[in-house]
């Protein structure tokens, strides 16, 4: 997993609530057996019209937002399907941080598996960022160590984050390797469970 420490990047606003993972990456892009190359499907129906031509008014198609690394979006970002293709597509496109008032649980969790930082701010702070992002070419700074977002005009917004998740994100740690350090505990649990719930052993 990529580590995330500090990011200075262009800010792009997407002022819509309930952006679901079907909108982030539609199903036709889920038939891949790879993790890479999903940028082409990111926000596909918002980015392209029925003939596959880019919609010039969509924020990520506008030249002033080209190369945006931070997205600020409406409530309940990432709801719906559990597809991890959503964070993969965002990352592949170059988005490393999404700011919203709230995220759906599964998406939020998937972000931390991939080094994509989801930042929760208040409705006022999100609105302030949306306003400041207008016109494009505005830089924000996201500092995970300090847990702050510095807006284009210099306003500093602090955010909360689970300390363990923060630590792993800062170091880019692999969860499986960490859990396997507890193999002994898993062995012990399995031995006890095999005795107390034997009907599950020959299912």
């Amino acid at each position: 997993m990529d580590a995330f420490t500090r990011l200075d990047a262009k800010l792009a606003p997407l002022p819509l609530a309930n952006i679901d993972t079907d909108q982030i990456i539609p199903k036709q892009f889920l038939k891949t057996v790879e993790r890479e190359g999903l940028a082409k499907g990111l926000f596909y129906d918002l980015r392209f019209d029925g003939d596959g031509k880019p919609r010039p008014d969509f924020v990520l198609n506008r030249p002033e937002y080209k190369g945006a690394g931070v997205l600020v979006a409406g409530d309940n970002f990432g709801c719906g399907s559990s597809r991890e293709h959503a964070p993969w597509a965002l990352m592949d496109f170059g988005i490393r941080c999404v700011v919203s008032t709230s995220f759906a649980d599964i998406f939020y969790n998937n972000c931390f598996q991939n080094g994509l930082l989801p930042v929760v701010l208040t409705a006022e702070q999100v609105q302030a960022l949306m306003d400041e992002a207008k016109g494009g070419n505005h830089l924000v700074t996201v500092d995970l160590e300090a847990q702050t977002v510095v807006s284009p005009s210099g306003q500093t917004f602090a955010f909360k984050i689970d300390p363990q998740r923060k630590e792993k994100m800062l170091k880019g740690l692999d969860a499986i390797g960490e859990t396997l350090q507890a193999s002994g505990d898993i062995d012990l649990y399995e031995m006890k469970a095999a005795l107390s719930k034997p009907w599950l052993e020959n299912a």
């Binding site: 819509l16 909108q23 038939k31 129906d45 029925g50 759906a104 363990q164 505990d185 399995e190 599950l200």
Partner: protein
């Protein structure tokens, strides 16, 4: 020697607390590692997980606790021809990749065309693999379905699929407890799907975020297992990763005699363990919602979020009823996408396609209820109507009962099992601009096909829409 399972004592714990405690393996740096009893997998969210295992040279820890099906991108006809005949090259590769992975790692698999194959959340319960007090995961958000049995079941991403394959555990922090109580007798034509939509309307699509929802009350007790599965299935649409119903005689009756449920002495041993999974009378819930089941009318969605719910007798809401600017903007976009006018009666919406299927509503009871409405009637001339049973076994059962003949005589297509038009990852798609009366779970933009307009509703409401040719009140067809 085998000891009896330890039975949790009354302790002010919720059902969720009890399942959580019974599966805790260790705490590591403030995160809990908890054991997974059953891991269901399918073709779409696993290839990258197996690739990760291979790259790290890690084995699958418990292939015997893993079950694979092919459901998301299978075509719903010609399945007997096998995967090699699947026309879509990418889908075929994904299905073949799953076949290779389950073979390499020794995982039980019901391939496309096997009578036991079907939608993962239909197959698990049907086989008796889903049991009370279990922890269940699958790389699919509708894994919440299995909570109907009093199992803690949740959808996970592909990285977590890899984590579970490698360790048979999941790392998580505990969620909060939310209880939804539904008491009272429903009116005719109202069932589990309407209950679920009523809950989502009440708390919103983010209302359950951070919670596990337990459903309780007399209306829940009165539901069949199929109904409970529908309700728990849609829990994710309310933002909660898992829904739960405490097991009772209805649960045990459903489980008895299924291929993977314990038999004889093992059944006698399992039963008291299962019965210990309920919320203690003094259990603490962080939030409580109470809904009067009798107050719920047949419901339908009008917009592009599952919280956009109205009674079938209602009008499409006016934009002024949305309080925040982004909610109003979303509603405006939704109306535009759906081709509806604010204030118009929803029954004026003419439908082009009717889809009865999906992990929400494709079980035998759903098909029986829809067939009852359809029997002796004819699908409106302009409507394409399809029934997609949830598994090969559901399909066979329905055929034994003659339900296929009822649907076919009315003008429905009778298709082979799979996720089908719920997510349109396979040949079953609704064309742009077409309106779909659907028993599935998501009315998102483009979900059933690019530009397709989805209205979520119960199987009986979808059946009524097929006959009427527009969204219709099922009570006129009872």
């Amino acid at each position: 020697m085998r000891s009896m399972p330890p039975l949790p004592k009354p302790s002010g714990k919720t059902l969720y607390d009890k399942i959580w405690d019974a599966h805790l393996v260790a705490d590591q740096d403030g995160e809990s590692i908890f054991y997974i009893d059953l891991h269901l997998i399918h073709e779409v969210t696993t290839p990258q997980a197996f690739a990760g295992l291979r790259a790290a040279k890690r084995p699958v820890r418990r292939p015997d606790r893993t079950l694979a099906v092919a459901d998301h991108n299978v075509p719903t006809e010609g399945q007997a021809l096998g995967v090699a005949a699947v026309a879509d090259e990418e889908a075929r590769l994904q299905l073949q990749t799953l076949e290779r992975n389950v073979k390499d790692y020794g995982i039980e698999f019901f391939p496309m065309g096997d009578i036991r194959n079907g939608i993962v959340h239909v197959v698990g319960p049907e086989q008796g693999r889903t049991q009370p007090g279990m922890t269940i995961v699958c790389g699919d958000s509708h894994t919440s379905t299995h909570g109907a049995f009093g199992a803690l079941a949740q959808g996970i991403g592909t990285s977590e699929v890899e984590h579970v394959l490698a360790t048979q555990t999941l790392r998580q922090k505990k969620s909060k407890n939310l209880r939804v109580t539904l008491d009272g007798e429903p009116i005719a034509g109202v069932g589990a799907k309407d209950y679920a939509l009523a809950v989502i309307r009440e708390i919103g699509t983010a209302g359950g975020t951070g919670y596990v929802i337990e459903y309780a009350g007399s209306a829940i007790r009165a539901l069949s297992m199929e109904g409970r599965m529908t309700l728990c299935n849609l829990t994710i649409e309310a933002g909660a990763r898992a829904g739960l119903v405490a097991p009772d005689e209805t649960t045990f009756d459903y489980l008895r005699g299924r291929p993977a449920t314990p038999k004889g002495a093992a059944w006698e041993m399992a039963l008291p363990y299962w019965k210990s999974f309920f919320s203690d009378p003094d259990a603490h819930f962080d939030r409580e919602i109470v809904i009067d089941a009798a107050s719920i009318a047949p419901l339908v969605t009008w917009g592009t979020s599952p919280e956009d719910v109205i009674a079938v007798t209602d009008r499409v809401p006016s934009l002024d009823s949305f309080t925040t600017p982004d909610k109003r903007a979303s509603a405006e976009r939704a109306l535009d996408y759906m081709g509806l006018e604010a204030g118009q009666p929803i029954t004026e919406a003419k439908v082009d396609v009717v889809f009865i299927g999906s992990c929400t509503n494709s079980r035998i009871e759903d098909l029986r209820a829809a067939a009852k409405i359809v029997e002796g009637r004819t699908v409106a001339g302009h409507v394409r109507a399809m029934v997609v049973p949830g598994s090969g076994l559901v399909r066979a059962q329905a055929e034994e009962e003659g339900l296929d003949a009822i649907f076919l005589a009315a003008g429905f297509e009778w298709r082979e099992p799979g996720c089908s038009m719920c997510l349109a990852m396979n040949p079953d798609k609704a064309p742009p601009g077409q309106r779909v009366a659907s028993t599935s779970n998501r009315n998102f933009v483009g979900r059933q096909g690019r530009g397709a307009r989805t209205h979520l509703m119960s199987p009986v409401m979808a059946a009524a829409a097929a006959i009427a040719g527009h969204i219709a009140d099922v009570r006129d067809f009872l």
